[in-house]
């Protein structure tokens, strides 16, 4: 294999190198790649949005299905533009209120489901030392999150145990993830060395 003659591969390779140059320091190559990525991705986003939202979710339902319900989000969306006019700018709070209401409202039952699942998973379905450690770990971690009690005396001791569990968990999760991150770099190097330069087969 030899160096690629494909124009597009060259572009991808040079952009890859431009991003890596950031590891040395901020420089014009990185700036170029950064600004380009932001510009292109937002252009891409707008196109995807046109296709997925305006056409599929607004235009088609309105024109073909005569579904006038979509007029509500349409109006709410347009109210966002009231910000451009000083005397009606307060109207943009309405869509924000709507969206926040929906988000918090939906989160209440889903928090419950999550809560139930977590408690269920903590129940010792088989009796071994692991189950006991899990019960102790979950409870002491929960104690760490007590806000309305001062963490001293017995509560303080338990919450200290909770912090220990949390630290072990963080160390483990950190060490566990390194492999996946190195894999990403290996993938990029393979692209550079094989697709672009043709050094490795």
């Amino acid at each position: 294999m030899a160096v690629s003659t494909n124009f597009w591969i060259w572009i991808a390779a040079l952009l890859t190198l431009a991003i890596y140059s950031f590891l040395y320091k901020d420089n014009p190559f990185y700036k170029f790649a950064e600004y380009l990525l932001v510009g292109i991705s937002i252009g891409y986003g707008i196109s995807v949005y046109w296709h997925n939202t305006i056409i599929t979710k607004v235009f088609n339902p309105l024109v073909y299905d005569k579904n006038f319900l979509v007029l509500i989000p349409l109006i709410l969306g347009l109210l966002m533009f009231s910000r451009f006019f000083k005397n009606v700018a307060y109207l943009s709070r309405i869509p924000i209120a709507f969206v926040v209401g929906a988000g918090t409202g939906l989160s209440v039952p889903s928090s419950f489901e999550f809560l139930f699942k977590q408690i269920y998973a903590t129940m010792p379905l088989k009796l071994d030392i692991g189950s006991l450690i899990i019960v102790v770990g979950v409870i002491s971690t929960l104690v760490y999150f007590f806000f309305s009690l001062e963490h001293k005396g017995f509560v303080g001791e338990v919450s200290k145990a909770g912090i220990t569990f949390i630290m072990v968990a963080f160390g483990a999760a950190f060490g566990y993830t390194i492999m996946a991150r190195v894999s990403l770099f290996i993938g990029r190097i393979q692209f550079l060395l094989s697709d672009w330069l043709g050094i490795i087969k």
Binding site: L37, I42, G45, M80, F112, I119, I139, S148, L149, F170
Partner: protein, 429 residues
């Protein structure tokens, strides 16, 4: 029974001899050796309608056979529900979906029939059977080509219904009501003027210091809300903290930069900062352009924010909201420019990286309680106390479960074992 089967085999054999090369269907009534094999159907409970489940029991010998399910409605339209199901799968659902929104209509009668076969069903046979109109449903044995198919009797009419209440969610409703009362109790307590305590949260006391030091150095503050939407609770929590931080920023008469991932988050952040500046009596310092949109692309956003950090060199960086893989890209860059970093998220997978790269990290619930801590308003403190009471309840539940399991399963006390099983069932929502 044996006689019947022998007779049947003989019949099948002789008929198949005659039918060589002749693709007509031969029907043998009342020769079905699988008369016990029946389909039963019922409305799928707790759904919004448009769904029927069909079940069957089977003798072991049929485990590897295939079952094709047909459906007839009152106007004799026949539809194939599913072909070639493994008999051992025991259930199939006939449901409306986004692709076929009116496949199953509520409140109309449907009749289901099954076709058992040793081999996969031939499409031609199926088509002919259906084109035969309502006659298809006769219970009996059909021979087509080299294959034999056993057609079961039709089920009674089955009607799909839409439920008004999801019974499986009663435990959630009950706990919701209890929790609502706990919250209301504490909110009332707070209103009546009882002093409520909140423990120190590391990191939040550093907000003042971070903003102050940044101002001294003549550097701006950067507040990163992550890649969540306004519908995500961590983002909302991040916005509430932003309000408090922005007020301090206004007090110190410095700048706050908020690069955003989602346009709705950006507009909301603009509102929050503007109001905080107004409250602090410095609306003149508010600059809409400091709260800017970057892009709705995870790594495009990371690249843009990294670049902005390198060029604006903020003295303090806040990372509060929903973060995924970009967490460490942002936090390491923030550290490399020497900024004080205060982070917080609910993504447990990202917390280790924040803890490693930032000066202070708000872990999970600490971040949600942060706006309360920074404001210390009685009503808000009341809600925190309510959360704590629920924690006690959860601990109690977990310990009870553990004890029951030890006594019930470890020491084999039957009653407690049953209580434990019941508890487990209750938790499976």
């Amino acid at each position: 029974m044996l006689k019947k089967i022998l007779l049947l085999i003989f019949l099948v054999f002789s008929v198949s001899l005659f039918s060589q090369g002749n693709d007509s269907i031969i029907f043998l009534e009342n020769q079905n050796p699988f008369l016990d094999f029946k389909l039963t159907g019922s409305d799928i409970p707790n759904d919004g309608g448009g769904g029927i489940q069909i079940n069957w029991c089977f003798p072991d010998s049929l485990g590897n056979w295939f079952l094709t399910v047909l459906r007839r409605d009152d106007s004799n339209n026949i539809m194939v529900v599913a072909t070639d199901l493994l008999v051992s799968s025991m259930q199939v659902r006939d449901v409306s979906s986004d692709e076929e929104p009116s496949r199953v209509k509520d409140n109309s009668n449907y009749y289901y029939t099954g076709i058992l076969s040793k081999n996969m069903i031939s499409e031609e046979f199926l088509n002919r059977l259906i084109s035969n109109g309502s006659g298809y449903s006769k219970n009996g044995v059909y021979i087509f080509g080299n294959d034999t198919f056993y057609v079961t009797g039709e089920t009674d009419p089955i009607v799909s219904k839409s439920s008004w209440f999801n019974l499986s969610r009663i435990p959630v409703l009950v706990s919701l009501i209890i929790i609502a009362f706990v919250f209301l109790y504490y909110l009332n307590l707070a209103k009546s003027g009882k002093d409520l305590y909140i423990r120190k949260i590391n990191g939040l006391d550093a907000v003042e210091e971070a903003v102050g030091r940044s101002t001294e150095m003549g550097k701006p503050i950067m507040y990163i809300l992550g890649i969540g939407y306004v519908t995500d609770i961590p983002t909302i929590a991040g916005l509430t903290i932003l309000g408090r931080v922005a007020k301090k920023v206004a007090d110190y008469e410095t700048r706050i930069l908020v690069p955003s991932y989602d346009p709705v988050v950006m507009t909301t952040a603009q509102e929050v900062v503007k109001e905080a500046f107004t409250e602090a009596g410095r609306p003149d310092l508010y600059n809409k352009n400091d709260i800017m949109y970057i892009t709705q692309d995870q790594f495009g956003y990371a690249a843009g924010v990294d670049g902005m950090m390198m060029r604006e060199k903020p003295g303090a960086v806040f990372l509060q909201g929903l973060f995924f893989a970009e967490s460490l890209i942002l936090a390491e860059t923030g550290h490399s420019i020497g900024a004080i970093q205060i982070s917080g998220t609910t993504e447990t997978a990202q917390l280790p990286f924040f803890v490693a790269a930032c000066d202070y990290t708000l872990i999970g619930e600490e971040m949600m309680a942060a706006s309360v801590y920074l404001q210390k308003e009685p009503m808000m403190l009341g809600s925190i106390a309510a959360e704590d009471l629920l924690k006690v309840f959860i601990m109690f539940l977990i310990i009870t479960g553990f004890v029951l399991s030890v006594l019930g399963y470890g020491l084999k006390i039957e009653v407690l074992k049953n209580v434990f099983d019941w508890l487990i069932k209750l938790l499976q929502v």
